[in-house]
Amino acid sequence: MTALPTLAVKNAKKPAGVTGHGKLAALYLAPGMLGFFIFIVVPLIASLVISLFDWPLFGTPKFVGLDNYIRMLSGDPVFWTVLGNTLFFAVCYTVLNLVLALGLSTWLHSLGSWGPFFRVLFFVPVVTPMVANALVWRLMLTDDGVVNSFLANFGIAGPSWLSDSQLAMGSLIAMSVWQGVGYNIIVLGAGLNGISPNLLEAARIDGAGAWQRFFRVVLPMLSPSLFFCTVMTIIGSFKVFTQPYLLTLGGPGESTNTIVLYLYRNGFSFDKLGYASALAWALFVIVMLITALQFSQQKRLVNYDN
């Protein structure tokens, strides 16, 4: 593949009489930018406009200014509950997912020829439709489901995994980790494969033990992959929708109601597109700030040296 010449030399002055490649670059960029403009920028602007209206699915929208935002921040207690639920889910899911993925990918890396087989096995839930996964978990976790029937064999009366407000969110997190961990195992596995065995060998010769090699050599070398996994997992966790929609309907009470489920309902069930758009913008700002915070720490925490 041939790289664009203009990208090859950083800050180089263009020699006199040499024509630039701006038009060619624009041509290459056009399809992608057109898609970005139509499917990202336009809906983003449209949702910002809609958020300033009382906008029903059918009928005439009414301009209400910042009322939707004011109501969201000061008049709707459910917003703060669903925001808290979403943050709790995001933190627990991201930490559990990354710790498990890191442990499993390290184990699989040392497994030799069985490693790829198990990697595929862990990846199967990622490519299985979320709806199918959620329905299977629902069958497992209902009051008289597989889990409680199993526990009953030992004389244990299983709890209501999906209907006890103390357990329902935990059940959602468990299901989500099971569904999502395979993706990070693949990414971290690729990162581990990229670490030169010579480095580890040198560390061993220098007398570093297994834990020291892991924390002092493997982890820093894996930090670009870990950074990518962290950013993508956090963004994904804030958008959680299918799991509560199918497993708990957001209940019991509001205990598993998340911000995307709440905005979906406001937009398409409660006929409040304007309020749903305001919620979407709140989510957009939160995710953008968290992602920006992560990128601001990139230089400090991520090691790109080979």
Binding site: P56, F58, G251, P252, G253, F268, S269, F270, D271
Partner: protein
């Protein structure tokens, strides 16, 4: 026509209207389109906002308030076409009346009933209920029926579909007053608490999960794991033919024993965007004649909206079952709702699992819903 077509069963029902109308007018035809029932209430709004939208849509009386901006008043069209609206079930006409104007012509009028498994009642020595049934007798019967892995009552998590609202209705406690939500009136709260306690305290029913549809308790009833269920007459054919054991129906229990029927039903309406409303109305009237609704009732089991057509629906059904439906139709009131009813139903399903497990009271749950669905 834009309507709900969840499966081939739905499509066959709509086709039954067309086929029955063709007997009088062989050239009559209707093109059908639409999503599943659950998606319909969202998609009908977006479909009617787009160009080339169908002229005729379907609605439920309980949703007439929610869809009022989508439909047009039919009073003048009925007058100019000399249609006698009084032949239709009064409760349905009341339910379809929004801001003093009629928004649809009903094709069915379905009072919610109590189904029971005759075999399980006989085994437990419980007398079969009929057109009179008190809540105290109901609670006592459920206790007798709950044994050997069988629950007395199968319970869905919904509000309208659950046991609480139909029982409140039977006592005359309605959820809407003067066009506004009235969920916290003492009668409704007490009846809903009674329904919660059946699972939470009396343990005569299995507490549902928020995400359960109506199919979960229906399966429980059909498989013989529950002896009773409160459901609509639209489930009559399914529940009487697919349940393990013989099935009978009774009125929904009330404190006095004389129950007020909670009538739900559907209607054909004209979309506000329709250009030829006169033609649309004439077509609606071809599929809502007593002959047509009677023929559809006989073929598909829907209870006709016209009293004179009830005999077609009754067909070979047991006389006792027919009497129950007739009694509830006579005493019945429409389930009138508000434009935010979808929010009420959704939020109730979210919270009801706590009510049926005893961790929240009916007062708490209904107050929360009232505050959120203003």
């Amino acid at each position: 026509m834009y309507t709900w077509i969840t499966n081939e069963n739905d499509r066959a029902q709509w086709q039954a209207f067309v086929d029955a109308a063709k007997k009088k007018d062989p050239a009559f035809n209707l093109t059908l389109e639409g999503p599943s029932f659950n998606d319909y209430w969202t998609k009908v709004k977006t479909r009617l906002s787009s160009s080339g939208a169908p002229c005729i849509i379907t609605t439920q009386a309980a949703r007439a308030q929610e869809l009022k901006d989508l439909t047009v008043p039919l009073d003048d069209l009925a007058k100019s076409n000399n249609i006698d609206i009084s032949m239709y079930n009064k409760a349905m006409i009341d339910g379809l009346t929004v801001d003093g104007t009629l928004r649809g012509i009903p094709y069915d009028a379905e009072p919610v009933v109590l189904y029971y498994n005759k075999d399980l009642l006989a085994a437990a020595g419980v007398k079969e209920p009929g057109t009179k049934y008190t809540t105290s007798q109901f609670a006592s019967d459920l206790k007798a029926l709950t044994k050997d892995g069988v629950s007395g009552l199968a319970i869905p998590p919904g509000f309208g579909s659950g046991p609480g609202l139909p029982m409140a209705f039977a006592d005359g406690n309605e959820p809407v007053k003067d066009g506004k939500l009235d969920l916290t009136n003492s009668g409704l709260v007490a009846d809903q608490q009674f329904a919660f306690d059946l699972a939470a305290k009396e343990k005569v029913g299995t507490a549902p999960q928020s995400s359960d549809g109506t199919d979960v308790p229906e399966q429980q009833f059909m498989s013989g794991k529950a002896a009773m269920i409160i459901d609509g007459p639209w489930m009559y054919d399914t529940l009487t033919t697919k349940t393990q054991g013989k099935v009978g129906i009774a009125v929904v229990p009330s404190k006095s024993g004389d129950s007020i029927g909670m009538i739900q039903g559907s209607a054909f309406a004209i979309a506000a965007s329709c250009k030829d409303k006169e033609a649309a109305f004439k077509n609606i009237m071809k599929i809502t004649t007593p002959e047509v609704v009677g023929a559809v009732g006989a073929a598909r089991g829907t209870v006709p909206s016209v009293e004179s057509a009830l005999k077609d629906w009754a067909g070979t059904k047991p006389a006792a079952d027919v009497e129950v439906v007739k009694a509830l139709l006579a005493s019945g009131r429409p389930l009138v709702t508000t434009p935010s009813w979808n929010q009420v139903e959704t939020t109730f399903s979210q919270y009801s699992s706590e009510g049926f497990r005893g961790s929240k009271s009916a007062q708490d749950i209904l107050s929360t819903i009232t505050n959120s669905a203003k």
